[in-house]
């Protein structure tokens, strides 16, 4: 192979890359916070919420989990305006990620709730707590702790999946890479660099979530 | 000549030395009970004899087969000694008969027909001829353990290692397994067993090894060891003053 790798463009493209990284990080932070919140709400509905709402949430979860994120994104960004709902590229990207993560985390958190021993609910009830109070104060935290690794993986998956928001011209890391390679004609090198940045972000995000779990959940004082 | 020669065996797990120089010679036809507290190293010693654990120093020789941690030597060693586990470890996807046949066919390349004949004979020997087609799930714990014994016997080992084989059984099922072991002993099979069944050890074994903190603390005929424990550790373990 006579191909000569060239990374000389990297310096001058740094500002563009950094902006892309910023947007990607911003997307996943907002997506994770609201997505997991939506997931908790939906998991509550499916496990303990009003009966009439359960099939609605179930349908939402199944629809999202069985269609590609790219199509969800296109539907929100290109499809919804025909109903008069218009939004910016970034808002659409954020919304799509929240809706997507919400469905997945609903299923994950529900599994955590279902693994809760019956006695926990009964103990809560015997202390005169309402079902919601029992859920919120007794069941939720241990349930989240049980499924934290799975939830963390899903958040990382959503972050990696967010690369496609470049397709609606949200200016994330992939968008930046596409832009740079159209200027420097060094597509392979550009995508190698951005792939490595994604890898670093994924590792970082995983550490961050592990640290968060460590802070959030009670641990044995000594081992 | 001894069948199993264990010489100055040492074994460490990280910083923790669990075997601190063990030497025991076991003659053909002997039935040896290894007793001691949990953590005394008795199970580890047994697992070393079968090559399930590597040793750090010393040597283990079974009928001329030296313990070396490569697949050829391990296989030679394991063809000479069978092992019975506390948790039976039957293969759940195979019938009782299939369990007994598999290793004959795979390891010894015995034709299926012959392997089946041997399997039927061995299952008959442990009183389970009628359970040939039963899956492990469908058997009681005692029956499972007897299938495991038949499975090991089918490989025609020179010695059997029994690692607390009745500890996972309900009390009413212990007797049927011990009866099989007793019969094997009577037939002259060399047995090395880690056990908590002191009465069984006294009645059936030819020698008793008391292990304490990774060493052989006392060793001797069961009459001596149980009737005249010499060290305070053994006395305490046996609960006599």
């Amino acid at each position: 192979m006579t191909y000569h790798f060239d990374f000389g463009w990297l310096i001058e493209s740094l500002p563009v890359l950094l902006k892309g990284i910023r947007i990607t990080v911003q997307l996943i932070l907002i997506g994770a916070v609201f997505g997991v919140a939506l997931g908790i709400a939906c998991a509550w509905v499916r496990a303990l919420g009003p009966k009439w709402l359960r099939p609605v949430v179930a349908t939402y979860v199944e629809l999202i989990r069985n269609t590609p994120f790219l199509i969800q994104l296109f539907f929100i960004f290109f499809g919804l305006p025909s109903l008069g709902i218009r939004m910016s590229e970034l808002t659409a990207a954020n919304l799509a990620m929240i809706v997507n993560l919400g469905a997945y985390s609903c299923e994950i958190i529900r599994a955590g709730i279902q693994a809760t021993p019956r006695g926990q609910f009964e103990a809560g009830a015997s202390l005169a707590m309402t079902p919601f109070q029992t859920f919120w104060y007794v069941v939720l935290v241990p349930a989240l702790q049980r499924i934290w690794p799975a939830l963390s993986s899903q958040i990382v998956i959503v972050m990696l999946g967010s690369a496609v928001v470049s397709q609606i011209a949200a200016e994330d890391l992939t968008f930046a890479a596409n832009f740079i390679q159209s200027r420097n004609f060094r597509a392979f090198e550009t995508y190698i660099v951005s792939t490595l940045i994604y890898l670093a972000l994924a590792i970082l995000l995983r550490q961050l979530l592990a640290g968060l779990g460590w802070m959030l959940f009670p641990r044995k004082a000594s081992r | 000549m001894s069948l199993i020669a264990i010489t100055e065996v040492k074994k460490r797990f990280g910083d923790n030395e669990v075997l601190k120089g063990i030497s025991i010679d076991i003659a053909p036809g002997e039935v040896v009970a290894i007793i001691g507290r949990s953590g005394s190293g008795k199970s580890t010693l047994l697992r070393c004899i079968n090559g399930l654990e590597t040793i750090d120093e010393g040597s283990i020789v079974v009928a001329g087969a030296q313990f070396l941690p490569d697949e050829v030597h391990l296989k030679a060693l394991r063809l000479k000694v069978g092992m019975i586990f506390q948790q039976f470890n039957l293969f759940p996807h195979l019938t009782a008969g299939g369990n007994v046949m598999l290793s004959q066919m795979v390891v010894k390349k015995v034709p299926k027909k012959d392997a089946e004949a041997v399997a039927r004979k061995m299952l008959d020997r442990v009183g389970l001829a009628h359970k040939f087609d039963a899956l492990p799930d469908e058997l009681s714990g005692g029956q499972q353990q007897r299938v495991a014994i038949a499975r090991a016997l089918a490989m025609q080992p020179m010695a059997l290692l029994c690692d607390e084989i009745t500890s996972a059984l309900d009390p009413e099922l212990v007797a049927e397994v011990l009866a099989v072991v007793k019969e094997l002993a009577a037939e002259g099979m060399t047995l090395v067993m880690v056990t908590h069944e002191m009465r069984f050890a006294r009645d059936v074994c030819s020698r008793v090894v008391f292990m304490h903190q990774g060493r052989v603390h006392e060793i001797g005929a069961p009459e001596d060891v149980f009737a005249n424990p010499r060290t305070p550790e053994l006395r305490q373990f046996l609960g006599v003053q």
Partner: protein, 219 residues
Amino acid sequence: MTEFSFWDILRNLLLAARWTVVLSLVSFIGGGIVGAALLFLRIGGRRGIQLLSRGYIQLFQGTPLLMQLFLAFFGLGLFGIDVPAWLAACVALVLWTAAFLAEIWRGCVESIAKGQWEASASLGMGYLQQMRYVILPQALKVAVPPTVGFSVQVVKGTALTSIIGFVELSKAGSIVTNATFQPFTVYGLVALIYFALCWPLSKSSQLLERKLNVAHRNH
């Protein structure tokens, strides 16, 4: 410009969906084969090879599939080949699927009790014999539900190949949208077709899992 009826749109999308199915099958089968090889290296090979296959899995699980597609598309081009989109799509999806399946299957192999390894070792079996006769028959049963479940990810993953220009269901969706200016209908239909492909797989994965759990509880 010709008028597109609802049925024209649906017909065009369904025709393109054939390629989604074909690509999914190729990726899944190819990924299964590569994944199986990877699994053996990951749990049985020498230490260096183990680390290498672990690195491979983490690399493909830790980077966006879209980037992998771009790299396949432009990377294969470096060898002087004129890379058609379908080839880059197949290569990237096979490699990506392999990484995930190898990891799923590793979990299944590791879920087999240690006693099974020890019992078969004590009977004199070598590594390949243990795998072939004792571990894999049990692990395969456990592996079916998550493997079927992952096939859903593969089907959805093929959507990304539209971005490098492979004309499957998603790309057809964009093309038809540009021709009809009915994004709501078109992307709605596209989503429903994906749903029709994926939902049966999801559901059967769940059912298989439940069946397996019931069988396990009877132990």
